[in-house]
Amino acid sequence: MADHLSEPFEKSAMTNEERVKTEREMRIQFIAFAFMIALTFLAFIAVGAEVAPPGFVISFIIFLAFIQLFLQLYYFMHLKDKDHGWANTFMVSGLVLSIPTVVALILIIGVVKY
């Protein structure tokens, strides 16, 4: 039993339907990637142009960062796909735990530094 485990497959085991799906997935990945690059450019321009006040720029690029995070997790790391419920649960609970922690830490340490 199970004698030929180390030998490569001769042809793909995917059905035609699955192959079409994979190709569509690939296209989505490229679009998401282009979108993310554009967002990064936007962030650089927002800082480099020095037209808006710093308070606005900071909140703007943090907003962009959240869009990036969403795209990265859901499109690049496949959290949007089926059967990713547990991965989603853990990612979200990690965020739910860490965001208040980090915010509290920044607030507290900001007050008592030195």
């Binding site: 039993m1 199970a2 485990l5 180390s6 547990w86 853990f90 609970s93 990690g94 735990l97 860490s98 208040p100 922690t101 509290a104 830490l105 607030l107 507290i108 340490i109 007050v111 008592v112 530094k113 030195y114």
Partner: protein, 629 residues
Amino acid sequence: MVREAAHTLKKSLLWDLLTTVDHKKIAILYLIAGTLFFGKAGLMAILIRIQLMIPENTFVTGQTYNELLSMHGTIMLFLAATPLLFAFMNYLIPLQIGARDVAFPFLNALGFWFFFFGGILLSLSWFFGGAPDAGWTAYVPLSSRDYAGIGLDFYVLGLQISGFGTLISGINFIVTIITMRAPGMTLLRMPLFCWNSFITSILIVFGFTPLAAGLALLMLDRMFDGQFFLAAAGGNAVIWPHIFWIFGHPEVYILVLPAFGMISEIIPVFSKKRLFGYTAMVFATILIGFLGFMVWVHHMFTLNLGPITNSIFAILTMLIGVPTGIKIFNWLFTMWGGKLRFTTAMLCASSFVPTFVLGGVTGIMLAMSPVTHLYHDTYFVVAHFHYIILGGIVLGILGATYYWYPKMFGHCLNETLGKWMFWIFYIGFHLTFFIQHILGLIGMPRRVNVYLADQGWDGMNLISSIGAFMQGLAIILLLINVIYSAMKRPNHPVDDPWDGRALEWATHTPVPEYNFAQVPQVRSLDPLFYEKIHGDGTMKPSEPLADIHMPNGSFLPFMIALGSFIAGFGLIMKHMDAWINPYIVVVLGLLVMFGSMAVRSWKEDHGYHITKENVEAMEREALADERNR
């Protein structure tokens, strides 16, 4: 003897233990290593109590005392309690959810060896210029390179390495519980021990990562001239306690939740009732796990963080009392009207409840930020957390030892010796720590090695020390019991001595390496008990008998962890007068480590199969054995 399948039969015992990836054998390894570290740290506690027995004692010097108390705390939390709980988690999670092994057997072994070598590295500090001496919390600046010696280097690297092991095991348990449950074992039919271990594993993944980051920062500070925590160089010392307690508070729950789980398994069995409020217990556990991350500042109330911060964290801390209270009442209601049998396991489990309430009440007292300034750094705090850790976790582990010992080793522990052990331990424990509440309230500070006579502390300290000796005696009685019971064991192993309810009691004893010849079909919560009442007392199979695929044993986990140990020791050698360039040792260690990983990656290993005929033969032998009893 077909019972051991062909592959393990060829190996000697030592080689088998060094290369095993079987969750049951790794559990035994954890149990042995954890017991050794527990004995060592317990001995340190006895030495501490000898020093404090009489005023102005000169039994040990102040420096040695600091090293003893730091190592006592560090070892007890990281290297004794954690592995002892991991031993039970490793042994029981696959059995209780009806799986053949954990999800990643190789990683399981790797986790154990990382923990083991991390512990060895930390313990080596005694032989190279002194153990860490800044407490188990290692606050900067006390632990920075200006004030602490080489012992702290051992602390940083030893904990880093053993922390890797803990993280790896945590991830492994999460994946096991999510993906490997038997058919019919829905999440809300899972035994409570599995649920609590699941939440614990999540806490490990979210809690040990900040610790790893903090230790990395401290390592950079101490070894590579970093300045994260040095106020003089623009760093900030307050960051360390924050990072440490963001890890440290969940760590308390990492330890206590599995103990809760053990209690929740033992009490229903010896009350002959199903657990009261199962669903409430599950959600209380989740809530405790969540709130555990939101309260870390209550360890730092006297750090002058401002009244708003303190009150927010004080209220959040008191909130934890709500889910914990739910659990306490559920245990009480499980016992209420039950057909109680007070075996040693049940004695430990039922006495856990009031002891833990005492620890919880002092916890609420300490959580009140205005009054906490009075208790701060006194023996009141020491009494509080020992009520949680000793009266909670250790009682849970002792109960679990008596309860699951027959499944692990095939024979029960002696009950008479067990009851002696329990009562000596229990009375000794309260003698030691109850009186420390009062000592703290009348002003005795913690972490001091001498005190003056005639302050009203002498008698109470003496009583406290006597209690500590009684606890030591109780643990010796447990060891005697282990040897005595092994010598007096019956010819045939016992299968189900307590009339158990969960799936682990449906396996043969000794448990065959594949656990279940056919993965069982689960029909209810407490599946075995359900079959005993509604079926014929055996689990129904969910699949036909077939070849069973098993993983091969491997020596690589040992080598990977050994490599990390050598590299860690090399880094510590930077501060020694070594005859060899420390970086040579570091590179050597990394080569061993990554070399072994490369071998693991490129060498194909498909495991092996236990054939259907072999499984049938093993099952026949086990059944014939059972009929002979």
